[in-house]
């Protein structure tokens, strides 16, 4: 148990060290831009994770609030939701990052470096954008309802449950099929999956751009976009539905998607570490030849991994449209959620709980970076800071060596060959 704790501490200390080092190095560039690093970082973290009135790092925990009678009181910041908490928006973004990162992890664990999440994500999104509009109109037509507002309540409630489910299923299927192409090419023709997924991404983006600009375009607005999905397909965000009066959620389109994402994360963890199929997949990923000698059908495992990976990205795309955007705007195809998911998966070292934490942190950093502008700081600084944090986070071995060296220096071993696992 103690060893386990120590292990956890050690794996947690690496990202923390990386973030601190990233901040120190990027402060050089922040200084060059003529801004104060301390102020910039405080602004960035406040914009990313703070509440209203957050100015300094300490405000992230406790924020001073003016009470109604003019006094000042201290409030626990994460629960202070007046005007909407920034974390609500972070969770909205993190919903998608968690799913795309899981998608990447499933592929990586099978030894396939697939980065096709972007393509599967946008195809899932466009599928839902189409069916979320088309399916309800067909149902209204069949039911003989001319005005959706006057539709019978029973029909609407059934549709509210079924339409999103059907849409999600279709998006997952589209994502899975698109990912399967790369898997099939890999297994049958030994085409490098990295290259095929990059190319498939580019194709998917162009397909979506075409669909949004021409056949699915809703009107002649300056920005092309699809028709808004029907209200029955919409996964109503918390601030419009369930928690309408909770101001914490105000302004964020966070909804049931985050719960789905976390449930899926638990399922994926169970699949990878507790099921036979997951075991086969991990073995095939470790060494394909070894797995085959052990009687594991490694080709099937690889294809299964690609299908699952694509379905997860498709799900992310579905939730992005059903819960957040409600339509695909021209330019959404290059919003980069898929690729950010790959980054999150790499930074989280393919651990499922890690993915949830890193996705939230990453979403917060991104939000803080773009919103630096609200503190009159240039947004480009945020990009530099994020890049350095990612760079240092990827230097895993460097930090591991560093920590081990510090540990041995601080705590001289009594036995010459200590056994870390505690086995005899």
């Amino acid at each position: 148990m103690v060893n386990r704790l120590r292990q956890t501490f050690k794996s947690l200390s690496i990202p923390v060290l990386a973030v601190i080092l990233g901040l120190i190095v990027s402060s050089f560039f922040v200084l060059m831009a003529g801004t104060d690093p301390a102020q910039t970082y405080q602004r960035m973290f406040c914009e990313g994770f703070g509440s209203k009135g957050c100015q300094t790092f300490s405000d992230l925990l406790v924020v001073q609030v003016e009470t109604e009678d003019g006094g000042v009181s201290s409030v626990f910041a994460p629960f202070y939701g007046v005007g909407g908490h920034r974390m609500a928006v972070v969770l909205e973004r993190a919903t998608l990052l968690i799913l795309t990162a899981l998608s990447a992890t499933v592929a990586f664990k099978a030894g396939l470096f697939s980065i096709g999440m972007d393509g599967q994500f946008v195809l899932g999104a466009i599928t839902v954008a189409f069916f979320g509009y088309w399916l309800p109109t067909q149902v209204y037509m069949l039911a003989g309802v001319s005005d959706p507002g006057a539709a019978p309540q029973a029909l609407l409630s059934v549709m509210h449950v079924l339409i999103p489910l059907v849409c999600i299923g279709l998006a997952m299927a589209v994502g899975a099929v698109y990912s399967w192409i790369a898997g099939y090419l890999k297994v049958k023709l030994n085409v490098n999956e990295l290259i095929s997924t990059i190319i498939l991404n580019a194709i998917a983006v162009q397909i979506v751009n075409y669909l949004v600009r021409y056949p699915l375009r809703s009107d002649f607005n300056s920005t092309a976009r699809t028709q808004r999905i029907d209200d029955t397909a919409w996964l109503i965000p918390f601030n419009r539905g369930l928690f309408q009066d909770v101001e914490w959620f105000s302004g964020a389109r966070l909804g049931i998607g985050i719960i789905i994402a976390i449930l899926v994360a638990v399922l994926i963890w169970f699949f990878l570490w507790r099921s036979t199929a997951g075991y086969e997949q991990r073995m095939a990923g470790g060494s394909r030849r070894f797995a085959r000698f052990g009687g594991i059908p490694s080709e099937r495992a690889a294809l299964r991994a690609m299908l699952l990976s694509g379905a997860l990205s498709g799900l992310a795309g579905a939730l992005a449209i059903l819960g957040i955007e409600r339509r695909v705007i021209d330019g959404y195809a290059t919003s980069g959620f898929g690729f950010d998911g790959v980054l999150v998966a790499i930074l989280a070292r393919e651990s499922v709980p890690g993915i949830i934490l890193v996705a939230m942190f990453f979403a917060g950093l991104q939000q803080g970076a773009t919103n630096l502008q609200f503190g009159d700081l240039p947004r480009q600084l945020g990009g530099i800071i994020i890049a350095f944090i990612i760079l240092f986070s990827s230097m895993e071995n460097f930090f591991r060596d560093l920590i081990t060296r510090i540990q041995t220096r601080l705590r001289p071993r009594k036995t010459p060959y200590p056994n870390e696992a505690g086995a005899p």
Binding site: K52, V89, F220, N221, S222, G251, I329, G331, Q367, Q373
Partner: protein, 376 residues
Amino acid sequence: MSRRFLSLLIVLTLIMVGLFSLGLTSAQEGESQAEWVDPCTAPTSEATVEAVVPQDNSDISFAIILPNPRGDRSFIDSAAAGAERAIAELGVVGTIVETSGAQEHDAAVRRAVQDRPDIVITIAVDAPIIQEIAEEFPDQKFGAQETFFFAGVPDLDNLALYNILTHENSYLAGIAAGMLTRTKKVGAVGGMDTPGINLFIVGYEEGVLSVCPDCELVRSYVGDFSDPVTAKEQALTLYNEGADILYQVAGRSGEGVLLAASETGNFAIGVDSNQDDLYPGTILVSAMKRVDNAVFSFVKSVVDGTYAPGVTTVGLREGFAGLSWDVGVCSRTFDQYGPEDMVAKLPAVRKAIDEAREKILSGELIVTNALEQASQ
């Protein structure tokens, strides 16, 4: 006594001068058809320059969401300039927010609302996004520019719109292109095939044909407002096909068109901001769209308390659209650096433009409004 005499003398002289100049102008009227008097170089002693007194309204704040990063030296920079002018002249607190594309607009507007400024101004943000957010936050005032509600403007108390119509000043730019072309082939490069862009191009093409009915027109669309590389390639193709003047309506992509013109020794017409000085001698004139004025008006309406929801449509008549040659901007860069044969034609061109402007303003000439056509 002497003072009275002196003032009498001055009044008499003034009357004399007045009569004399009147006679002079009436004498000129008969023969001045060929000569065009440049109002920019003419002495304007009577014009009083209003001194700008900075006000202090630091309790009033606004946020402006730009659709793309600054630095297009065109549309977005013009909007940002309007915001900066409002901060400087009205003394309000302003936040200028750049976004990098349509997928960020929604989040940026929502973040701006969280600070509860007195007004949130959006530039070219999509109509349904604004409508949804304005419905969600009924206490927050919104000002939208370059947002087209084709299904009808929603009836909201917190949403004001400015529509700047640019077909008429594009028509004037088209006259310049039609009269100055050497190859009888002119064209336009648009950012995207949308009514908002075609508003410019259709007006321009009508202007060209009004003075040069046998001119050939070419057109291409970049498909992106921040892709100067593609725009340059398209412009090079059009120039190779024999066009010598291109009108760019493509935001930052348009920089590629201007560059292509300068590299091939051809000519271009700038858009939105005064772009005449970017490549002196290459850019004939710029069809200006005063987005800065719209932004400034939004902020001013909040400061004055005259904020009114609904649509305000402005254009050439109200001074929100014009040419860089007009009084007030008076760009004469092309006169200085342009080739001699074209510069020699400029007085005639300006005279034709002035006549067309008067006809447009009097309602005698109606330029096609592509935006209205699209909404029908």
